[in-house]
């Protein structure tokens, strides 16, 4: 059986003045039906661009240069623009970070949702609104009929993000990509939504890619975790493996800097330095300048994938 989402060797470049910047570099992962993959990394690691590349929403000067994006065994990159448009929102859906900005401020929630329904299914507007109402019920919005008549600014942030998630669910997509979908919300609302997303994945069988910078969020939500750094996946494994036994020094650093997992009264460790500029990546391992375990070889030879269950892109992985 095919995986719901199978990404192979995805590479996305942005043409800048001078040479092209590779924002996503040879990224591969698979997500089975009903599973949740956490895609983790700092800002600038290429995780959002990965999401947009899957959706086929990379605009010039960017371009998906190589790789395959298979959804239910069908390669999205082989589709024409028009066929790809028919896939979006239908087989692959996406939820964005900022619920304040993703809904059109001047249109009623119901009108926006009905539009999203009717773009893929021929039906009357009244029927589309019924459909929208059902979707709002699924994500636990009280009195959905009333909400359909509301404008986005009349809803709270959490409510808006639920609307956005409901819109992603409208056509029962095989794949949902959630880009920092709870980052802008209160912690308590975030917890509720995460629990609902977990339920949705179980019930609808959708494969979910949860993009976040917050390892704490994915540790409770995801089945599998991919850690991205400078456009590459540097570590991959089941959530338990990655959280309990991180092997890449970068993952270790991320875990150490989560306040909740840290002993009180001590200095919170942090990873020194910041994400490198993609246009000026160091030779060898891109993480080397910030890595406590770096040796001479790291400065010259880029690390290769070691494929022994838990993949790590490192010369000196932790045991």
């Amino acid at each position: 059986m095919n995986a719901a989402l199978d990404v192979q060797g995805l590479t996305t470049r942005f043409a800048t003045r001078g040479d092209a910047v590779t924002a996503v570099n040879d990224v591969s992962f698979t997500v089975q039906k009903g599973r949740i993959l956490g895609l983790v990394g700092e800002s600038g690691s290429g995780k959002s661009v990965t999401g947009f590349s899957i959706m086929g929403l990379i605009d010039a000067p960017g371009e998906v240069a190589a790789g395959k994006v298979m959804v239910d065994g069908q390669d999205l990159r082989a589709l024409s623009d028009e066929d790809m448009r028919k896939m979006r929102g239908n087989r692959v859906a996406m939820v964005f970070q900022d619920p304040m900005m993703t809904l059109n401020p001047v249109l009623r929630v119901g009108d926006q949702m009905a539009m999203a329904v009717r773009v893929h299914r021929k039906m009357s507007k009244a029927a589309a609104l019924k459909e929208a109402q059902r979707a709002l019920e699924t994500v636990g919005i009280p009195s959905p009929e009333e909400r359909l008549r509301a404008y986005p600014h009349q809803l709270s942030g959490g409510m808006r993000q639920r609307v956005a998630i409901a819109m992603a669910l409208l056509h029962r997509p095989s794949v949902i990509i959630a880009d920092e979908a709870t980052t802008a919300l209160d912690v308590s609302i975030q917890g509720q939504i995460l629990a609902e997303v977990r339920d949705l994945a179980d019930q609808t069988g959708a494969a979910i890619v949860w993009i976040t910078h917050d390892l704490g969020v994915v540790s409770s939500l995801a089945d599998d975790i991919c850690v991205m750094y400078a456009g590459r996946i540097v570590e991959r494994g089941t959530a338990q493996q990655v959280i309990d036994h991180p092997r890449h020094p970068y993952t270790q650093g991320l875990l150490d800097s989560i306040p909740a997992l840290h002993e009180p009264g001590k200095h919170l460790p942090q990873i020194p330095g910041s994400t490198p500029q993609l246009s000026r990546l160091p030779q060898g391992c891109p993480f080397r300048p910030r890595c406590p375990r770096a040796t001479e070889i790291c400065a010259t030879v880029p690390p290769a994938d070691t494929k022994d269950g838990q993949t790590v892109l490192c010369h000196h992985p932790l045991e």
Partner: protein
């Protein structure tokens, strides 16, 4: 909503009052209309009589209050030049200006808005660059010069269109308009195009700016992620968002064109109110100037009010509140 209207109307009253004082004092300072009207050879006695007849011997404040008192009785005074009531003078000229302005703003909107949408949708295309270059010409080349070029080309050289004046009028619904006759259209089309160029350039740039901004907005990305086609995104999502600044400018332009289509009306010898006000200023026809400018203020207040009401319909976040 009611409180809002009351607030706006009381504001309008204050604006009209202040404006009338400024205009009155300003016009008083320009010069004595008697000097322009009267034959230089007339006797001092005739001169004195005339001055007394128009009340020009009174102090300024008394002249002003006499004027205000008459206005409250519905009398804006008589033109010193034509010796007919100012209201009937203005209303006899108004239809010509209204038809000219309506044709020109329609041309500006019908061409300018789609052109701006396209230029914002494909900002790097050749067509967009051409549109932007032309829009710069549209509002930087002087109106009178383009007007004269149009006359040179279409009236003098080609002889296709008349060089000026208003065409035959015919009854349409309740009023007489030259837009009801072919001859009328042949007269109105050239000045209307001339008058529309500035507005068209403005609308193009405004629409384009809104479009470029909207194309990068999150809600547009989200709409694309739902599989909506670009055409639907532009017409269902973006157009409404960018119409707010466009309508503001459109309203202001409509008002100022109605009031001051002076240059075009002069070049094309169009018998509208713009030409009337210029003639009255030259002849120091004080009642016409004052009354006309007060009417212009009322016109602007009305247009701004309508624009605000349209806002509230277009953008649900706008709340119309009383006072402020």
């Amino acid at each position: 909503m009611f409180g809002y209207l009351v607030g706006r109307l009381s504001q309008a009253v204050v604006v009209v009052f202040v404006m009338s004082v400024i205009v009155f004092v300003g016009v008083y300072a320009i010069g004595n209309p008697i000097d322009v009207m009267i034959d230089p050879g007339a006797t001092a006695e005739i001169r004195e009589n005339l001055i007394r007849k128009y009340g020009l011997d009174q102090p300024l404040w008394r002249q002003y209050f006499t004027f205000v008192g008459n206005v409250f009785q519905g009398d804006l005074g008589n033109s010193m030049v034509y010796n007919i009531p100012v209201t009937s003078l203005v209303f006899s000229r108004l239809p010509a200006t209204i038809e000219l302005v309506m044709v020109s703003v329609t041309i500006a909107a019908v061409i300018g808005i789609p052109a701006g949408l396209y230029a914002g949708y494909r900002p790097n295309s050749l067509g967009a660059k051409l549109i932007m270059a032309l829009s710069v010409l549209g509002f930087s080349v002087p109106t009178f010069w383009i007007g004269m070029l149009l006359i040179m080309a279409f009236a003098v050289e080609l002889g296709w269109l008349p060089s000026g004046g208003r065409g035959e009028v015919a009854e349409f619904l309740w009023f007489k308009t030259s837009l009801a006759t072919t001859n009328g259209w042949s007269h109105v089309i050239m000045p209307a195009i001339n008058l529309s160029l500035f507005k068209m350039g403005l609308l193009i740039r405004l629409t384009r700016a809104g479009m470029v901004e909207a194309m990068g907005a999150e809600y547009v990305r989200f709409a694309r992620a739902q599989g909506l086609a670009d055409r639907q995104i532009v017409f269902s999502h973006i157009l409404r968002n960018i119409s707010i600044p466009v309508i503001t400018v459109f309203g202001l332009e409509l008002g100022s064109t109605l009031a001051f289509a002076v240059v075009t009306e002069t070049v094309f010898n169009w018998p509208g109110v713009g030409k009337l006000i210029i003639d009255s200023i030259l002849q120091l026809d004080r009642p016409v100037m004052v009354s006309y400018l007060v009417m212009v203020v009322i016109l602007f207040v009305a247009i701004n009010l309508i624009v605000d009401l349209i806002y509230a319909r277009l953008d649900p976040r706008v709340r119309l509140k009383g006072g402020s």
